[in-house]
């Protein structure tokens, strides 16, 4: 089990900056995010867009801001669990919490900070009968460990960058890769599209264009994927795995089940310290709501500073906290 002072759920800009504010007060952080990378909406939705309302930066690209935040918190050596979703919080007798993810990773922490933004970025799922029954039994929406697919028959569906990239990557590992796309052309990176067409013309992969997923079947685990072409012909493919890659969309997800007061997909907090109704659980950034709330990065940063001062009493119950500027003490690394 991972042990830390503060466990932060969500590694978006607000969760990341919270590490800095915690570090100044000598509190250690572990962050968990369902996305395989840090940065939340900035990295997932608009990495290349400029942001104009971060104080001190007339303009900064979203991904650059995330990279800078990662640099800024380096002295405090935060630890990360990425690609996993926090499903459960369990309160312990001494008031601390044990968090459990969908992959059964456990984290013990004195304080929980929910910086979950718009919620978990969940994969968009195709409308197939039995889809849920085959999840984890051949259907997967994320390539976490490519080795899983070694010497297997893999069908990928989608036409974006991740479908192209994983087709190229898995072509080297899998027994056979089939890429299904509903159009005749790809709108992803032209370079990757060209590579995929090359692999197909060299017989390294099967590329099936102008076709849609129609059915999946198997005895317990996935065995067959059925496609329908534009002229309504059926195509059957032997498949150990189907990886639908149709992008991600945020859903509030498990946060809704933690007994917190939720109003329109956001957690109600006390603006004195951004605490929720439950002792030792705070909510900051886009995930919280209060009268006058603005969903801005700047506001999330402010909330992070205030809540960490309040959380101090749970991590160091015997110490009194006195406020100091960073210019007084500097940034003292762990």
């Amino acid at each position: 089990m991972i042990t830390t002072d503060i466990c932060i759920i969500g590694a978006g800009p607000v969760g990341l900056f919270a590490v800095f504010e915690a570090g100044l007060l000598k509190m250690r952080c572990h962050l968990i995010d369902y996305l395989p990378q840090v940065g939340g909406q900035l990295s997932e939705i608009y990495p290349q867009k400029p942001i104009y309302d971060i104080p001190g930066y007339p303009e900064v690209k979203a991904q650059e801001l995330v990279d800078n935040l990662m640099d800024q918190i380096k002295p405090f050596k935060p630890t990360f669990t990425l690609g996993e979703r926090v499903d459960h919080l369990a309160k312990q007798e001494d008031g601390s919490f044990i968090i459990t993810t969908n992959d059964k990773t456990q984290v013990h922490a004195q304080v929980i900070v929910i910086a979950g933004g718009l919620g978990v970025f969940e994969p968009r799922k195709p409308a197939l009968e039995n889809l849920e029954a085959f999840e984890g039994k051949g259907i997967t929406y994320m390539v976490k460990n490519p080795e899983t697919f070694r010497d297997k028959n893999v069908v990928l569906a989608g036409g974006g960058d991740s479908a192209l990239d994983w087709t190229i990557y898995l072509a080297k590992i899998a027994k056979r890769v089939t890429l299904v796309h509903r159009n005749e052309t790809f709108r992803g990176a032209p370079d990757s599209a060209a590579k995929v067409f090359d692999l197909a013309s060299n017989g390294k992969i099967d590329l099936i264009l102008s076709a849609n997923l129609k059915e999946i079947s198997g005895n317990g685990t996935l065995e067959k994927v059925t496609l329908e072409s534009k002229n309504k012909e059926e195509i059957n493919i032997d498949a150990d795995y189907l990886i639908p890659l149709f992008g991600l969309s945020p859903k509030l997800g498990p946060i809704a089940d933690w007994g917190l007061n939720i109003d329109k997909n956001a957690i109600e907090v006390d603006t004195r310290d951004y605490s929720t109704g439950v002792d030792r659980i705070y909510a900051i950034g886009d995930i919280n709501t209060y009268p006058g709330k603005l969903k801005l990065i700047l506001c999330g940063f402010h909330e992070a500073a205030i809540m960490m001062h309040s959380a101090f009493k749970f991590v160091y119950p015997d110490q009194k906290l006195s406020f100091k500027y960073t210019t007084v003490n500097g940034v003292n690394a762990f």
Binding site: I45, R124, A127, G160
Partner: protein
């Protein structure tokens, strides 16, 4: 003011009235009318959560831009009449159209 019809996820239809002189997008009107449109990206053609199908009255709405098509084509469900509501301006061309909500409603 122009009038068009919105069909929700359950198939129920309702007429919606909107001003055509304020530069609003169809997404903004749908949200203002309390339809469950997420519009995560706020109208930047980056999230596709404002996906709609134009069932009637597609002529005159103009072609989808490349950015719009990028998003639409990535969706698991995509129809020849699919559009992003945030990329459609409220204009007289929308008069009498029938719009079906297709985006996720959380």
């Amino acid at each position: 003011m122009i009038k068009f019809t919105v069909e929700d996820h359950d198939g129920a239809r309702q007429e919606v009235e909107a001003p055509d002189d304020m530069g609003l997008s169809l997404m903004e009107i749908l949200k203002a009318s309390e339809y469950p449109v997420l519009a995560t990206c706020g109208g930047m053609a980056l999230c596709a959560t404002c996906h709609v199908e134009v069932l009637e009255g597609q002529d005159g709405l103009g072609d989808a831009t490349d950015a719009e098509l990028d998003q639409l084509e990535n969706l698991p469900e995509f129809f020849p009449t699919s559009r992003l509501a945030c990329q459609i301006r409220i204009s007289p061309q929308l008069e009498g159209a029938v719009i079906k909500l297709r985006g996720e409603d959380n």
